[in-house]
């Protein structure tokens, strides 16, 4: 059961996407909190209680602008538009740190750190080329900040310079906050990398095990085919050859009729045997009519009663149709094996924009989940190979429900 769930590719991707979304929003919020706290609130607090300086209002106004930019970026991120969000944040941040350094060159160290923040956490969310461009622009921005701080006096800033202690207060607050923010991002990136690596290793091990099982299953299938051919059709044909030879060489013409009658019977048995075998290798209706036609034919051959509800099933790629068909076939065999007399099986299709699933449930005796046979394990691997998963819900005395589920491929894979 655990293997059935773990072999799915959906879980890992979902988890990774969720973690990525959460991290992105967390960092944007941190960035926002920094500008709001150190830039807007600290400025207004000092303006209100200590010094009514236009310098403080200028810092507050610049930071308010960047807060608005960050709020918009946060909204974009919630819609999954990371590229736009990070671009907006970067541009707003470059402008803000430039303006703040222009207004107050002594804040340069804090602004240099602030300039680095977006590019440090943007990397997983944007394309490589854009990330490189952002990194180069940020380096240019840092250089420009240094130049501005060095030569700012040339432009003769006319505003009233604030007292030294106010600038010191900003540096004392903003510098550790920025440094801490960057460190948290760096730690988080490292932790995410470690988690990704361990998930990747686990997934690689699972894929390898699944591949080994699939290869073994394929080999066993070939052996079974050889045995079926050898013990079935071939034996009938051999006996047929002997009987025809006998009829051909028999001197007594009265012997011809009974020999040919027996030969004819063997020939029919051999044909039926080959038809059964071919059907088991790949059902012809699955090729021509898809699951909607092949499953009723499969149900008709099942030993017990089978109810079908296949509304919404379309045509999918051959690998998906084959995987789902043989899941149903395996589940029906399972029901016949474990269900007991009078077991009724129901096959229900659930199709929507996102998911495609088939549920095969029976009211039979059920079985101990720990005793899952190789057949169902192979089906799990097979579904996993097409990006799906198999859920087996059973217990002795409670029937069995097997659900084969995968992302609806109609929108991505061209149906034949």
């Amino acid at each position: 059961m655990t293997a059935a769930v773990r072999s799915s590719s959906l879980l890992g991707h979902d988890l990774i996407h969720r973690l990525m979304a959460e991290r992105f929003q967390l960092f944007l919020l941190g960035h926002l909190a920094m500008y709001l706290g150190a830039g807007v609130l600290l400025s207004l607090w000092q303006y209100a209680f200590f010094l009514r300086s236009p310098w403080l209002l200028a810092i507050g106004a610049i930071c308010t602008g960047q807060c608005v930019v960050l709020a918009v970026a946060l909204r974009l991120a919630r819609c999954g538009r990371y590229q736009h969000a990070i671009t907006l944040d970067c541009i707003g941040n470059w402008v803000a740190v430039f303006l703040i350094t222009f207004v107050s060159p002594s804040l340069l160290p804090a602004m240099v750190l602030a300039a680095l923040v977006p590019v440090v956490f943007a990397q997983p969310y944007i394309r490589w080329r854009r990330g490189l461009v952002f990194a180069v622009i940020t380096a240019g921005c840092v250089l420009a900040l240094a130049a501005l701080a060095r030569f700012q006096h040339v432009v003769h800033w006319v505003g009233q310079a604030p007292p030294h202690w106010i600038e010191t207060a900003f540096i004392v607050v903003a510098l550790p906050m920025n440094a801490f923010h960057i460190l948290v991002i760096a730690w988080n990136n490292a932790a995410a990398l470690a988690v990704s690596e361990s998930m990747l290793a686990e997934r690689a091990a699972e894929v390898e095990a699944s591949r080994r099982r699939l290869v073994t299953a394929a080999d066993e299938e070939r052996r079974r085919l050889e045995r079926d051919l050898h013990d079935g059709a071939q034996q009938h044909l051999v006996a047929l050859a002997v009987l025809i030879q006998l009829a051909r060489t028999a001197a007594d013409y009265d012997r011809h009729q009974p020999l040919l009658a027996e030969a004819s019977g063997l020939l029919e048995t051999a044909i039926a045997e080959i038809r059964r075998l071919a059907q088991g290798i790949y059902p012809p209706l699955l090729v021509s009519g898809g699951l909607a036609q092949a499953l009723p034919a499969l149900a008709a051959k099942a030993p017990g009663a089978v109810q079908l509800n296949l509304r919404g099933l379309g045509r999918y790629s051959a690998s998906i149709e084959t995987a789902l068909y043989f899941c149903c076939s395996e589940a029906l065999q399972n029901a016949a094996k474990h269900g007991g007399p009078g077991t009724t099986v129901t096959i229900t299709a659930h199709v929507d924009d996102r998911m495609l699933s088939l549920t095969i449930s029976d009211n039979g005796r059920g079985f101990e989940p720990a005793t899952i046979g190789t057949g169902l394990m192979n089906m799990t691997d097979r579904l996993s190979a097409v990006g799906g998963k198999l859920f087996i819900d059973t217990a002795p005395g409670h029937g069995t429900r097997i659900t084969a589920s995968l992302k609806n491929p109609s929108r991505t894979a061209a149906a034949r």
Binding site: H230, D231, V238, A239, L240, V242, L243, L246, R255, T269
Partner: protein, 146 residues
């Protein structure tokens, strides 16, 4: 093994192991051991078409053949190689050890190159592909050995 002219592969050549077998004018008894009903039927028809042979009995497993074929008797055992249980090769070995007068012919549908390793030294007189079975072949194999 050599490929015989009569369509069978001779496994044991040279001296006959059943030189003191049946009385010359008595019909030779034939047992068939095969888990496939269709081939037992074909064997019965073949034996019925051969004047010198008579169907003694048929068995589905090697174990049954060992148990039920009479001890002091001569004749031919047509033994399928691949059967459930001990299989044809081990059955041949035991039958030949207990009843040296019986001539065992191994049969299967495989090519002679694909036979299991024990086929050559289990005491069988010859290997024949099942589709080559005919009254004529039975007669020639029996006469060659006698």
């Amino acid at each position: 093994m050599q490929h015989g002219k009569c369509g069978a592969d001779t496994i044991v050549c040279g001296q006959s192991a059943w030189h003191d077998a049946t009385v010359a004018d008595a019909r030779v008894r034939v047992w068939v051991v095969d888990d496939q009903a269709s081939f037992r039927l074909a064997t019965a028809e073949t034996v019925a078409a051969a004047d010198d042979f008579v169907m003694a009995d048929e068995y589905q497993t090697g174990e049954a053949a060992i148990r039920f074929i009479p001890d002091d008797t001569a004749g031919i055992v047509l033994m399928d190689i691949h059967m459930p249980g001990i299989g044809g090769i081990e059955a041949t070995r035991r039958i030949r050890a207990a009843r040296p007068d019986l001539m065992v012919l191994l049969m299967s549908t495989y090519e002679v190159e694909d036979l299991p390793s024990g086929a050559a030294d289990c005491g069988a007189a010859a290997y024949l592909c099942k589709e080559h079975l005919s009254p004529d072949l039975l007669t020639r194999l029996w006469r060659t050995a006698h």
